[in-house]
Amino acid sequence: MKDLFFFLFALGIIALGLSAPFVMTLGYMWASLLKPQVLSYGFFKPLPIAMIFGLLAFTTYALIDRRAFPKFTAVHALLVIWALWITFTTLIAQFPDPAWWKWDWAFKEIAFACFVPLVIRTRVHIEAVLYVMTVGTVPLVVSAGLKAALGGGGYGTLPLAGQSNVGLAESSTLAMYATMMIVLVVFLRKHTLIMPRNWIATLAVTGYIGACLLAAIGGYARTGLVTVAVMAAAFWWYSRYKISLAVLFIIVATVGMFFVTDEWIQRMETILEPTSDESASSRLVIWGWTWEYVKSHPLGGGFVSYIANLGHIPGYDYPRAFHSIYFEVLGEHGYVGIVIFLAIILITVKMNWGLYRRNRQYPEMAWLADLGKALMICMVIFMSGGAFIGVAFQPMLYYIVALTISARACELRILDTAQPTSTSTAWRLGSASQTHPAMGIDGTRVR
């Protein structure tokens, strides 16, 4: 039944995508984030649905939608360099077979992130992507929150996506992703064009945020607490109602403490004393090992090079993963890799900060300012939560990077269509007298 439902849904996306090619890209993102195959058990399971959507997205773009190229940014260039560098390190990988397995899906995510800004060009497109990221992953995020609320919480015990433990179905990864989705859904609630803004939407968004919080906290992942704290701090910092928000947070935290178990509290206390917990202390050992490893392998050991730590971690008779995006990239792709990776992240944060700073005082551009702020907070959450989980090649990072490029390109196109009314904006708009090739003088789309 679920297989048939997913199959019909995918067919519906393809049908819509034939008339509006950007929907094919949304289909790929849906398949990549949700991984519907792991939620199904019949004929849908072996279908390479992401590959199908990816090929259709490229084909429909090339045949019927190739126009209005975005400005080539530094992040775009870095993504291309990043894709080439991980290919090079895979060629010299210490463990070639598993390295090529990981390269296969990591390369696709980066390549697709390079492609997304070509297709996602307008406010509606960007909003649709955000909806795919939030609503499309409800079967993972909200079901985890509901199960935690019904008493199914616990580290590694939430039955997510058939216990597949891949992608977002891993407790810590889901906790971080759920926190990021709160930020995006708050943005959508305020600026959506696609959905109505009425009391039903308010109720749905409130329920979604509650489920996300439960998913982040109820999974007993320490990453969840860290990311929720970072998100709360960011909301507080950017709010003009600081006292009210602080009081609200204190009330929520106080009420929440009545519902958490002693086991949860004990687990969270290990954040401050990592040596008291085996899992936390082993991470410190692994990070120390990685630091020494990269001294002898300055170009990195290639994907999955953590296998080399077999026998080096006391108490473990199997290799332990890096458990940190920074050490994952450092160990796998060396000093050059970590520089490229950090440059992508930091330039993305800077671009989002720029979007926010340039547009915040203009009411008609408030959506773009708030989008920049939301994406920037998401990146900060990713940087803080990712310090404890190895998700450097998960699609969520690259979709945020791609959305940042799309948003920046959208801003430039809006400025290109603006008519300067005084010299005070003429210098600012730069090429304001020119209209974009895809646009008419009145800002309407030229077909």
């Binding site: 950007f22 079901s143 915040r360 005082q361 203009y362 809006i414």
Partner: protein, 78 residues
């Protein structure tokens, strides 16, 4: 049960969202012109503490705009 329910509800909603996105993509102008220096009366454009929405735009203190003016405009040659 929860999994099935969330799949049905969320994908029904997502189908509606995608359909609406396609409709809006065809009806709304892609990039509406921004009139940045109009009298901004919408004070609730953003609830951000840094926002100056609603305040009348003041001439910029920085000299960037003047940088492109001919040097002799304010100091004509003798």
């Amino acid at each position: 049960m929860i999994d099935t329910l969330t799949v049905l509800v969320s994908h029904g909603l997502l189908a509606y969202i995608l359909f609406r996105a396609v409709v809006l993509d065809r009806t709304l102008p892609w990039f509406e012109p921004a009139e940045r220096n109009r009298d901004q009366s919408d004070k609730n454009a953003t609830n951000d503490k840094h926002s100056t929405a609603g305040q009348r735009q003041q001439p910029r203190a920085r000299g960037s705009a003047r940088r492109f003016q001919p040097r002799f405009r304010n100091n004509p040659p003798a």
